[in-house]
């Protein structure tokens, strides 16, 4: 590797890019900052253009995260992650012997990191192989950003109502009915009955619903139990459900009739 050290700084907050550049200028005046990126995508693009020897990557960036960008760069540069407070990430960095800096960046800590980097550059040791660790980390971060695991019950349904998309709280839903390609969501918009359409199949929605509140009563109908006003039985082993505050009548098929056995 050449004696001339080059670096890329990626952070979505401009003040923090400036600050790091200024701090590096004090601790490591010979280091040339060849690129500054505002997000992960830019970091990857600028890396491919300039091939800096060192990349300072903010973990939390719009679009591609710092970890995603690191995945792309791989062992072609020495990586230093920068983060304000990402408990999980910091833990993983420490375990994986990755270099990381905490914001606000302390001068002393930065000096340590710089001397480690210089050592590595001098011995022209290749960058640590981090592929697997980074893969795990980026999955973990993605999960954190979407608000945690999928195990939680569904709370909102994204639905098409006319020309707009609305988020319907699951507590407002009276029933769901599948209809050829779509699922119809019958819900209450501030108490008033309303209907909307979602593309998610009924079966998929049912899996995410609270079984204490919703019951499947027909191949194509799932109803909120509290929304039922009454159930009328027919002679031919079927029944129909009348929904509170609506004129709608829902079918109950033979397989689900046991739910409404007489007292």
């Amino acid at each position: 590797m050449s004696a001339h050290a080059t670096a890329l700084i990626a952070d979505d907050e401009p003040l923090l890019r400036d600050a790091l550049r200024r701090q590096l200028a004090i601790v490591w005046p010979e280091l040339e900052i060849v690129a500054e990126a505002r997000n992960g995508r830019e970091a990857v693009k600028l890396f491919d253009e300039r091939h800096p020897g060192i990349c300072f990557l903010d973990v939390h960036m719009p679009g591609l995260s710092g970890v995603d960008a690191a995945n792309h760069i791989g062992r072609r540069a020495h990586l230093v992650f920068v983060t304000a407070y990402d408990h999980y990430a910091v833990q993983a960095f420490a375990q994986g012997a990755l270099d990381y800096l905490l914001k606000p960046v302390e001068q002393g800590r930065l000096a340590e990191t710089v001397s480690r980097l210089k050592e590595r550059l001098q011995s022209s040791r290749p960058a640590i192989n981090t592929e697997q660790l980074l893969q795990q980390l980026s999955e973990q971060l993605a999960k954190l950003q979407t608000g945690g695991g999928k195990s939680e019950a569904l709370r909102w349904i994204r639905a098409q109502a006319g020309k707009t998309v609305r988020l319907i709280a699951i507590d407002d839903v009276d029933y769901l009915r599948s209809d050829a390609k779509y699922t119809i969501v019958a819900w209450r918009d501030g108490g008033k009955p309303a209907e909307a359409v979602v593309r998610t199949p009924l079966k998929e929605l049912l899996e995410q619903l609270d079984a204490e509140q919703f019951a499947q009563v027909h191949r194509s109908v799932v109803v909120r139990l509290r929304a039922i006003s009454h159930v009328k039985r027919h002679d031919n082993e079927t029944a129909e459900i009348h929904v509170r505050g609506r004129d709608d009548v829902l079918p109950v098929s033979r397989n689900y009739l046991h739910l409404f056995r007489q007292m």
């Binding site: 600050a19 304000a84 609305r166 501030g190 039922i228 007292m263």
Partner: protein, 356 residues
């Protein structure tokens, strides 16, 4: 309560029937014992008759409890049950006497001793059976009311627990280390650079913390207080993302004193930043519109950011908990609506009663 919820299982039905039979038998035997002194026939024939009467009354009670399924509005079911039992009692005693009349013997009303027995039995049955039925109905209604009360109390405590959770969540989110350290890093950067902006930013951070920390202990805030948090918050965020965040506020002065759950507005704005602006490379604009229309107050936060994510739950817990808190305070009188904004982004609207 729906039909389904009140429909008891087979075990419950069995227990109910057993309980009724016990009451009927106890009453029948007690009446029999009381009537022994005036009875001029064998005691076993007396007990047999009172028990038959008791059981037939129980059967009638059970029958008219469910049949006919629909009743005219002027007829209460409990009245039907009581009247039916009252009518059934003389009919049953007469039937017992007609059927027990020996072959060739005169009808019971021509035999003074049998007529005397019939009169006593009928009198006792008409006197006691409808009252017992009435007592049973009252007990049943009370038990139902108790059940309902319990169910309501349970629901209420569940909501209260959720509100507590929500407040805890707020505490975590509002004084979130990520937000604080990132902001401090920016302040540090400005100070290091000797920027004239440093004191301004520090002032915003102080204002934000001073407004948000006490609010976490209060049950209610006003729109005005909310703005005291949201203004410095947006100032800080704009300082951090000057090229990606613009915002504008359009506040109706008449709405300033309207009360709302603490951090209502902050939750909406934070949601717009976190899920709209922050994930978008180009960022966007946040518009805050607060209007008072008569006795309603509408708070609307629109962003032109990343928009609704493909995963339905991508909203995070902020809006969900806000919705729960609104429900707890206003019930159905408040609504939280989430729609996609044109051409990009999300609009979240809270429509609530304008209490001051």
């Amino acid at each position: 309560m729906s039909d389904l919820a009140t429909a008891p299982g087979p075990a419950a039905t069995l227990a109910k029937t057993a309980r009724r039979l016990t009451v009927a038998l106890t009453m029948s035997i007690a009446v029999g014992l009381l009537m022994l002194s005036v009875w001029n026939n064998s005691p076993s024939s007396l007990f047999l008759r009172t028990i038959i009467l008791g059981l037939s009354a129980t059967a009638a009670f059970g029958l008219f409890e469910v049949w006919p399924r629909g009743l005219p509005p002027w007829l209460q079911r409990w009245a039907l049950q009581v009247v039916a039992i009252g009518v059934l009692m003389p009919v049953t005693t007469s039937l017992i006497y007609v059927l027990s009349t020996a072959q060739g013997a005169p009808p019971f009303w021509k035999d003074p001793s049998r007529l005397n027995g019939w009169t006593h039995l009928t009198f006792a049955a008409i006197l006691l059976a409808p009252w017992t039925a009435l007592a049973a109905i009252v007990r049943q209604k009370e038990a139902f009311a108790r059940n309902q009360k319990l169910a309501f109390a349970l629901e209420r405590s569940e909501l209260e627990r959720e509100a507590l959770d929500a407040r805890l969540h707020l505490l975590q989110a509002q004084v979130a280390p990520h937000f604080l350290f990132n902001t401090l890093a920016n302040v540090q950067a400005l100070v290091d650079a000797g920027s004239p902006h440093a004191p301004v930013v520090l002032r915003s951070l102080t204002a934000y913390l001073r407004a948000v920390v006490p609010l976490l202990h209060e049950p209610a805030a006003t729109i005005e207080r909310e703005l005291q948090i949201v203004r410095p918050y947006l100032e800080l965020m704009q300082m951090r993302m000057p090229d990606r965040l613009q915002y504008a506020m359009n506040i109706d002065p008449a709405a300033l004193q309207v009360r709302c759950p603490p951090t209502t507005l902050l939750t909406l704005v934070e949601n717009a930043v976190r899920h709209g602006i922050d994930p978008s490379e180009e960022g966007g604009r946040i518009d805050i519109d607060i209007d008072r229309r008569g006795d309603r107050c509408v708070v609307r936060v629109t962003d032109t950011g990343a928009g609704l994510q493909p995963s339905a739950d991508g909203l995070g817990t902020g809006l969900t908990t806000l919705r729960e808190r609104l429900q707890l305070i206003f019930g159905d009188a408040a609504q939280l609506r989430v729609t996609s904004a044109a051409p990009r982004g999300v609009a979240v609207e809270v429509d609530m009663p304008a209490h001051t």
